[in-house]
Assembly symmetry: C2
Homo-oligomer: 271 residues x 2
């Protein structure tokens, strides 16, 4: 039972599920974007990180999903289950990180919940907006499109903070045919984009962050760069890494080989 198989099953019943955010049609000129992201001690961070970094990162994860739709974040709910090792000072630091990340994104804290658990767990919900019908979905990539990323990859061990690509994402509205953020490694996330679009991809080049290995860029999580496609001959910002090609929907080729969709699966216990 993988993360993708569970989501696939839910999606058959709930068609709003499956993209980086749910896109809710609104009677106004703006559609609503909704997204929730868990941050869990021992999975997404360790308690050795500063409280401020944990708070900022938890919010950045959801902001990155709003960025991937080309949207603008508006309101945020933070649900926090406190672990026994936290204290008032830790809480102050955590919310400092939350508020600072929201301030940079021009979004507001609107609520949440508080409780306690044996390990620290945080769930961040974001509500954003996007001009009606303009959300960047995973499903719009077409044969011949060029494939891009917003920056070099391999972030999990080599990047200290997540910078949600909000401005970058908004620039892609009306230009990109498909977009998502890379949270579980390029190999798995590119497979997901191709599967949603019913296409295959040819990967030519994997740009690496300083200090990152190819394996980290392909299979590690927590990059939070945007992965997107644009029609041929359309100019785009970012780094070109390949193109949309003929092949089995979801399949990715790299260096003459099939790239397996192996990446970070949050439903599995990792060592």
């Amino acid at each position: 039972m993988t993360e993708d198989s569970i989501i696939g099953k839910l999606r058959r019943r709930s068609p709003l599920i499956g993209d980086d955010c749910a896109v809710i049609p609104s009677p106004t000129g703006q559609d609503l974007l909704l997204k929730a992201d868990l941050s869990i001690e021992g999975v997404h961070f360790t308690r050795e990180s500063s409280a401020e970094a944990i708070g900022a990162r938890a919010v950045a994860r959801s902001l990155s999903d709003i960025a991937a739709m080309g949207g603008t974040p508006l309101y945020c709910l933070v649900s926090l289950a406190l672990a026994p090792w936290t204290d008032q000072q830790w809480m102050n630091g955590f919310y400092r990180g939350v508020y600072e990340m929201l301030r940079k994104a021009k979004a507001s804290l609107a609520g949440g919940d508080l409780s306690h658990a044996s390990q620290l767990i945080c769930d961040v919900m974001l509500c954003g907006s996007i001009p009606k019908g303009k959300a960047l979905l995973r499903s719009g990539a077409r044969l011949g499109d060029a494939l891009y990323v917003s920056g070099p990859l391999g972030g999990w061990r080599n990047k200290r903070t997540i910078v949600p690509r909000l401005k970058f994402g908004r620039k892609l509205v009306g230009k990109a045919t498909a977009c998502m953020d890379i949270s579980d490694g390029l190999a798995l996330d590119l497979h997901r984009l191709c599967k949603a679009s019913g296409v295959a991809a040819q990967l030519d080049h994997v740009p690496l962050l300083k200090g990152a290995t190819l394996d980290q860029a392909l299979h590690d999580g927590e990059d939070y760069e945007l992965l997107f496609t644009v029609p041929p001959r359309v100019k785009a910002p970012g780094i070109r890494i390949g193109s949309i090609a003929k092949g089995k929907p979801g399949s990715v080729r790299y260096g003459g080989q099939v790239l397996e969709p192996i990446g970070y699966d949050h439903t599995q216990q990792h060592s």
Copy 2:
């Protein structure tokens, strides 16, 4: 550091925090309601409960907050951290409970997140709507108002399921001066309503569920009935339990005594 003191501190910086839901003004005729509620193994339920009941209850908690504002639930995000003791069959049961509760409330599952943790944790976010400016707040109770509950109390050990009072809440729109749901016991929640309104209350009568004790009704959590006030001489559904009186803001008198605001505090480890 109690739940109320943390929320009070956040509220000074984020005025949308502090009521049962955040009320987001919208350019349409409807305001947006946002709410998140955690459900944690060992705090809100035990693993001995059926998966279906855990899922249904997790959603009902947030629906109850929408009910307390007089609103209509629309979209739901469910974030789930799976414990090692869960399996596919458990997941199927959990989502059956989620979908059944949402179906009754005419709301849709729109997304969420999946991960794993050492204990089962679920965070349910709900997005609802309410006619512009009509949300039932905690802060509108006035001297002389009558105090009501939507049903008998003492639910935590004596009620098997939460039935969110959505229809009841909508009937109170334009009629109740203040409203909230009772999730942490009547004593603490009535204190909160009075404090938010800057008034005191005189409690005359505490209606008990079959099998419930007065102590459970006053100080236990998980009732999910609505607590509300109406102007004198306005007819209201529900059970009259007292009235808004002169006194120190937040203070409650019952049987000639001051009733201490003691109830369920989710930030504290309970035995």
